[in-house]
Amino acid sequence: MPRTQKGFLFDPNRCLGCRACIMACAAGKDLPPGIYLRHVTRQEFRKGTQIIQYYLSTSCNHCVNPECLRLCPEQAFRKRRDGIVLHDLSKCNGCGDCTRSCPFEAPIVNPTTGKAIKCDFCYDKLDEGEIPFCVAACPVQALRQIDIWHLKSQAPDTVKRLHGIITLQITRPSIRYHALKSGKQILRDPVRKGDEYENGNL
C-alpha cells in the first residue's frame, strides 16, 4: 500500500449543481465538445414528508484496487506512488474493457481518438504544486483534493457512502463525503406515503 493516496473529498452540503467542475475540466483538458471526464448528477429521494435533493460530482475515483488496471489487456493503466491511476494512451487499443469493468464508468472511449480517456487528477498540475481544474473551479469549495490515508486530521466527520451512490466498495474508491444535512421544508403539498418517486432527472 502506498504511503499516500490522492483522492477527493466532496461536500454535498455545498455542491450547487452548477457544473463548473465539469466544464473547467473539459476546457482545461481541451476535450472535444460533449466529452467529459467528470459528471454531476442530481439525487432526489424522499425522507418522511421531506424531499431530499442534492448534487453529486464524480470522476475517476483513483481506486486503491483499480479494476481498470487489473483488467486492461494492454496493461495501459498504472498507479503512481501517490495513488493516482494513470492511463497510457500509447498502449491503449480502445477495446473498452476498462469502461465496462469500472463500477463508476469513469474511463470513456473518446470518439475522436478511438481510445480510452479518464481523469488523471491533473497530475501534471499537481507536480507543479497546483490543484486540479475541477477543484480550482468550484466556487464554493464543495470539491477538495485530499490524501485519503491522512483524512482524519483534515476532515474528521466524513463518510464513505451517500444515498444514491454506487455502494460497491470492492475497488476501494478514493473518495470521501461529508454526511448530508438537510434543513426544514414547508411544502405546499407534502409527499405522502405511497408516493414513490426517486431520482428525477431535473
Binding site: N13, R14, L16, G17, C18, R19, A20, I22, M23, A24, A26, A27, G28, D30, P33, G34, Y36, E44, R46, I51, I52, Q53, Y54, Y55, A136, A137, C138, P139, V140, Q141, S182, G183, K184, Q185, I186, L187, R188, D189, V191, D195, Y197, G200, N201, L202
Partner: protein
C-alpha cells in the same frame, strides 16, 4: 509565442468574471478564471469555461448577409460596403418621405454589458428622434418598487452578507445564477447565520437552505404582508427606526390590521403556524438581509410584492446597518459620463413634442412588438442589437409577425438567432474577446478592462465599429445626417465615458485596471445616513389596502397549470444555448412535472408531452420531480430552441410597476397558464 490577455465576461450576469485568456498564433487556446478577481476568486461558471465554443462556434456567422425574403432562409453573403450603403439609403429614404425618423425603431438590450455597446444608443440619438423600445424585461418592476420605497436602488457589497444573522433568499436561485455569492452565503452560515429560501420550486439553492418555504407563485405580496402583521401584533418591530425614518406607517399598519391571516394562508398555501414561525425568525434575528431575485417581480403583482418584502426590512430596522439591507441591484456603479447617450440629433430633427418646446423619441414598451404595427407613422425600419426578442419576449409568434411586417429589419449578432431568421440584413458582431471594452459589475462593482485578445473573426466588427462606420456612410450619402463624432476612436470614447468613475476607482486612466482588481468605491453600508431619496426623505411604506388584492391573486381559467420558465445553469436567457457541450450537459430540454400530475395525465419520465394554451403549443419530453409542485410545470429558459420556442406560449402580461424608472411596465413572465397532454 503565447500571449496572456485580461478579459471579462460581458454577459448580463451579477458575477462579471475576470478571465485570463491565452493566445497562440492569433487563436485563443485557453480561458481560465483570473485569481485576482476578489469576488470570483478565479473560478468561472460552466458557461464561462465554454467560451471557446462561443468564439469558434461552427454556427457563428462572420460576414454580412442579406435574406431574400424574411424567414425563407435564403441568405446571400454581401459586403460591408453594400450592407451599410443599403441600410443608410433606407434611413435617408425614410427621413425624406416622413420628414422625421419616427418610423425607425431601435430594440437593444444587454446581450453584452460592455460599455461600448452604448454606442448603439448613441448612434440612434445622433440621427434623429426615433421610436425607442424602452423598459427592461428583467428588472423594471423591481427597480420601480425599490425606488418608490427607498428613492433609489442601493445594495451592500457582496461580502456584507457575512455580517448577517439571517439571510432570506426570496424568488432567486443563486446556486445556478450567481454561484460565487453562494460561497459567501455558506461562509455566513458557518459563522452562525440562518439561510431561508422562499420559492415555488425546490431549487438547488432551496435544497441547501436551513428553512425552505414553498410558496404559491404570485402570492409573495400576501406572505410578506402576513409576516408584517405578525411582527406588528407581537411587537417584533424596531419602533425607533419606524418612527424616525419612515413615512406612511399609520396607513400601512391600518391595512395590516384589516388583513386576515387565514386568508393569507389560503392564498399562499403556507399554514398560519408556519407564517408565524417565519415572522418570529425574521423579528428575532438581527441583522437580517434579504436577497431579492427575478422571480417575484415577474408576476402581475411583483412590484407590490417587492415593496411588501422591503417593508419587512423597514419594520425590523434592518436598513442602513451592516449585515442588513436588500441585495438586489444598483446603478450607482455605472456612473459613466453619458457621452454616447447625450449625443443630439441634427438641428431641425422632428420627433414627439416633449411639452417644453423640444422633441423626444417616441417610446414603446419592451416586448410590445404587436404595437409596432399599429403606430402612426408606422415602423418601417427596425434595428435589433444585443437582443433576441423572438426567444426572449413574450408571445414569440407575435414578435415574428411584427418582424415580418416591418419593411427593413437589421439584426446585429454573432449567429443566426431565432430573431435573425426574420431579418433582412444580418450584421456579424465580434465576440468580446475581439475588441477592447470595459465592464463594470452591478453586483460587486468590480471594473475591468476587456483587452482585445484576437482580431475580429472573419469580417465581424464590434457594435461600436458598425455604428461608427454606418455614420460615416450616412454622412457621405447625406451630409449632416448623423452627429456621431466618427473621428473619435474606441479608446477615446472609453476614456471619456469612464472619467467620472476614475476618482471612485483610484485611477487616472482606465488601462490602469489591467492586472489589478478595483471596485467602484460605494458605501459599505447603504442608507447608513438614513437619508432616503424619496420625496419625503423617509422610507416609504406600501400603503395599498390588503384584502382586495389577496383575492385578485387567485387565478382561474381554462388552463390548470402555471408555467414557470426557470433559469438553467447552462444558459443565460437565450445565450449559450447553441453550444454542443451545454446541450450535452443539461440534457435535452424537458417539461418538468410533479409525479402526481404526471400520473393523472398518464405521463412517465421521457414521455413526449404537448404543453399548450391559447397562444400555441410546444412538445417536450417530460422530466418528473417532486421539486416541482403539482399545479406548476416548468421549462428551462433558453434550452433547446432549435425545435422548441418556449416563449411561443408565454403570455404578454404587464406587471404592476416599471414605468417610473424604465419607461414601460415590467413583464409578468410567471403568469402563464397551460394544460398538458401526452402525444
Amino acid at each position: 509565442m503565447e500571449f496572456i490577455y485580461n478579459n471579462i465576461c460581458s454577459s448580463d450576469c451579477r458575477s462579471s468574471c475576470r478571465i485570463k485568456t491565452k493566445v497562440q498564433k492569433g487563436r485563443i487556446i485557453s480561458i481560465q478564471g483570473d485569481p485576482i478577481d476578489e469576488f470570483t476568486l478565479g473560478s468561472l461558471c460552466a458557461k464561462g469555461y465554454a467560451h471557446l465554443q462561443r468564439i469558434y462556434a461552427p454556427d457563428r456567422i462572420t460576414y454580412p448577409m442579406k435574406q431574400m425574403g424574411k424567414g425563407t432562409g435564403n441568405w446571400v453573403r454581401i459586403s460591408w460596403e453594400q450592407a451599410l450603403r443599403e441600410i443608410a439609403q433606407k434611413l435617408i429614404e425614410i427621413r425624406a418621405k416622413h420628414k422625421t425618423l419616427l418610423p425607425v425603431c431601435l430594440n437593444k438590450y444587454l446581450g453584452t454589458m460592455g460599455l461600448l455597446s452604448r454606442s448603439i444608443d448613441g448612434f440612434f440619438n445622433s440621427i434623429g428622434y426615433i421610436t425607442l423600445m424602452t423598459g427592461s424585461p428583467c428588472v423594471a418592476t423591481g427597480v420601480d418598487a425599490l425606488t418608490l420605497s427607498f428613492g433609489a436602488c442601493k445594495k451592500p457589497p457582496p461580502e456584507d452578507m457575512l455580517n448577517a444573522g439571517l439571510i432570506v433568499i426570496w424568488g432567486c436561485n443563486p446556486a445556478w445564477t450567481t454561484p460565487h455569492q453562494m460561497r459567501l452565503v455558506f461562509d455566513a452560515r458557518e459563522k452562525g447565520a440562518t439561510v431561508v429560501v422562499i420559492d415555488p420550486v425546490l431549487t438547488a439553492t432551496a435544497a441547501r437552505s436551513d428553512l425552505y418555504v414553498q410558496i404559491k407563485p404570485g402570492t409573495d405580496w400576501a406572505l410578506a404582508r402576513g409576516i408584517a402583521k405578525i411582527l406588528v401584533e407581537e411587537n417584533l418591530m424596531d419602533q425607533q427606526f419606524v418612527a424616525e425614518n419612515t413615512n406612511g406607517w399609520e396607513s400601512c399598519k391600518n391595512s395590516l390590521e384589516q388583513l386576515n391571516l387565514d386568508e393569507v394562508a389560503s392564498a399562499t398555501e403556507v399554514p398560519v403556524a408556519e407564517i408565524k414561525k417565519l415572522a418570529h425568525l425574521i423579528g428575532n434575528t438581527k441583522p437580517m438581509t434579504i436577497w431579492l431575485g427575478a422571480g417575484v417581480q415577474h408576476t402581475s403583482m411583483g412590484g407590490q410584492g417587492f415593496r411588501a418584502i422591503a417593508d419587512l426590512a423597514a419594520i425590523t430596522g434592518n436598513i442602513g446597518i451592516p449585515g442588513g439591507n436588500i441585495h438586489y441591484g444598483t446603478f450607482d456603479s455605472w456612473g459613466f459620463a453619458g457621452e454616447f447617450t447625450s449625443l443630439e440629433p441634427p438641428d431641425g430633427s422632428k420627433g414627439i413634442p416633449d411639452g417644453e418646446g423640444h422633441y423626444q423619441h417616441r417610446q414603446v414598451g419592451t416586448g410590445r412588438f404587436a404595437e409596432l404595427k399599429t403606430m402612426d407613422p408606422p415602423i418601417d425600419f427596425l434595428w435589433v442589437a444585443s437582443h433576441n426578442p423572438v426567444a426572449q419576449a413574450p408571445d414569440s409568434n407575435a414578435v415574428k409577425q411584427a418582424l415580418a411586417s416591418i419593411e427593413t429589419v437589421v439584426v446585429a449578432d454573432l449567429s443566426l438567432t431565432s430573431t435573425a431568421r426574420y431579418a433582412d440584413y444580418f450584421l456579424p458582431v465580434a465576440s468580446h474577446y475581439e475588441y477592447e471594452d470595459i465592464v463594470v459589475s452591478y453586483w460587486d462593482y468590480g471594473a475591468a478592462v476587456n483587452q482585445k485578445a484576437i482580431e475580429p473573426l472573419g469580417e465581424s466588427k464590434s457594435d461600436f465599429e458598425i455604428m461608427r462606420e454606418l455614420a460615416v456612410v450616412l454622412n457621405k450619402l447625406a451630409p449632416g445626417f448623423s452627429t456621431f463624432p466618427t473621428d473619435r476612436d474606441a479608446t477615446q470614447w472609453l476614456d471619456l465615458e469612464m472619467k467620472p468613475l476614475y476618482p471612485k476607482l483610484g485611477i487616472t486612466h482606465y488601462r490602469e485596471l489591467i492586472n489589478q482588481y478595483r471596485r467602484v468605491d460605494l458605501p459599505r453600508v447603504p442608507w447608513q445616513d438614513r437619508e432616503f431619496l424619496t420625496p419625503s426623505g423617509k422610507y416609504e411604506f406600501l400603503t395599498a389596502p390588503c384584502t382586495p388584492l389577496i383575492h385578485a391573486s387567485e387565478e382561474v381559467g381554462d388552463y390548470p397549470f402555471r408555467l414557470l420558465p426557470i433559469r438553467s445553469f447552462a444558459t443565460l436567457n437565450s445565450q449559450y444555448r447553441n453550444f454542443v457541450s451545454m446541450e450535452e450537459l443539461s440534457g435535452r430540454s424537458k417539461v418538468l412535472v410533479n409525479p402526481k400530475t404526471a400520473l393523472s395525465k398518464g405521463i412517465e419520465e421521457g414521455t413526449r408531452v404537448k404543453v399548450y394554451n391559447q397562444l400555441g403549443e410546444i412538445v417536450l419530453p417530460a422530466g418528473l420531480s417532486n421539486c416541482i409542485p403539482p399545479d406548476i410545470v416548468s421549462v428551462y429558459i433558453g434550452c433547446d430552441a432549435k425545435e422548441v420556442e418556449l416563449n411561443s406560449i408565454i403570455a404578454l402580461i404587464d406587471t404592476d410597476l416599471g414605468q417610473l424608472c424604465s419607461g414601460a411596465k415590467g413583464l409578468a413572465f410567471n403568469n402563464t397558464f397551460v394544460n398538458l397532454v401526452r402525444v
